[in-house]
Symmetry: C2
Subunit: 224 residues, 2 copies
Amino acid sequence: MAKDMFLLWASGSPPCWRIMIALEEKNLQGYQHKLLSFDKGEHKSKEVLDINPRGQLPAFRHGTNVINESGAACMYLENQFKSHGNQLIPSDQAEQALVYQRTFEAFNAHQKMVDVVMYAFRVPAEEKHEATEKRNKEAATTEFQLWEGYLQKTGPYIAGKNFSMADVVFFPTLALAFRLGMRQTKYPKLGAYHGFLKDRPSIKATWPTHWLQEPPLKDPLKDV
Amino acid sequence: MAKDMFLLWASGSPPCWRIMIALEEKNLQGYQHKLLSFDKGEHKSKEVLDINPRGQLPAFRHGTNVINESGAACMYLENQFKSHGNQLIPSDQAEQALVYQRTFEAFNAHQKMVDVVMYAFRVPAEEKHEATEKRNKEAATTEFQLWEGYLQKTGPYIAGKNFSMADVVFFPTLALAFRLGMRQTKYPKLGAYHGFLKDRPSIKATWPTHWLQEPPLKDPLKDV
């Protein structure tokens, strides 16, 4: 069934990783895939642009259906394969409300992290200001403190007592944040959650290949 | 049924407007609500913070379930009230794939618009650079050109032949973009789509109250 699925991905990209975790959770192993490199500019190749006109990874196809946005692909997989593997959106009304809320909130966390990282690596030096950098870091800190608080109230998973879509979407962002210098000692609950989830089969099976071999080159999130 | 729903909202805020359109589409009229003012800082009031710890609008509650993220609330309403009003996520596999894709892509469009608007209104003058402003505007232009292309291929609605969740999420962003100076002559398909949808009952009933009375004060998107 997964043989008519095709994923173009990059190692360590949270949006790509989300889809890979969702595929594992839904027992949709055996999909076709190809690892590409941002460093080599392969996300702007014709192969990607034919599926994703944004020239971004992931590029994902199920048969002739193209669903490139990671949140969209995860929702689609859950909806189309309801009885497969693990249920990622619970049926219980209160649990469902919390899972939807945390799932969409996770995109805020991702954006706040990206704002800091992009400012460090992409904004030309002559356009940089300490005040902007400080504001971005404060916003990311406030954001991750919110999540630290969520785990205090409703762990062990990020939306309560079961693994859910919210973990699929949030975990890759958190893992990247820790890799890029955010300190587990500053966010003990998030650190414990990260340690607890990294051995989950769906996450272990999809752990970014190059993270296993190479240490991070920089730590733009060390003050967050 | 909608009596146990409560919405705190601000006029002209696309995230608030999305929930209001979804409520209309699902025939969930009669919900409790209260209009608040960003200008008066009411989004940081205790009333909001008690529901939404981010101090943002919308703040939305269904019974004891809190779902503040607009995308989350819209998905929740669709899922909890499947047989009510209009179906916003189609059952057909190919249509569903496209609706999920466009729904999540719409958050990109919103972010690109917000980047331009925030740079104009929120970044202190001493931190501004023409190059950054230009880059933000180019990114927003590229984004809205993508959507212009989508309508050329798969109109009349934003994800094909039927009104869907993608319209609920995208339309308020587009309407605000036009109000803030983006020109319909530059995006004729988006302009026609805007003209076609603004008379839809769910949208007409929820049109930002102050837009009817006041002209826009500024046009930060005039070059987009």
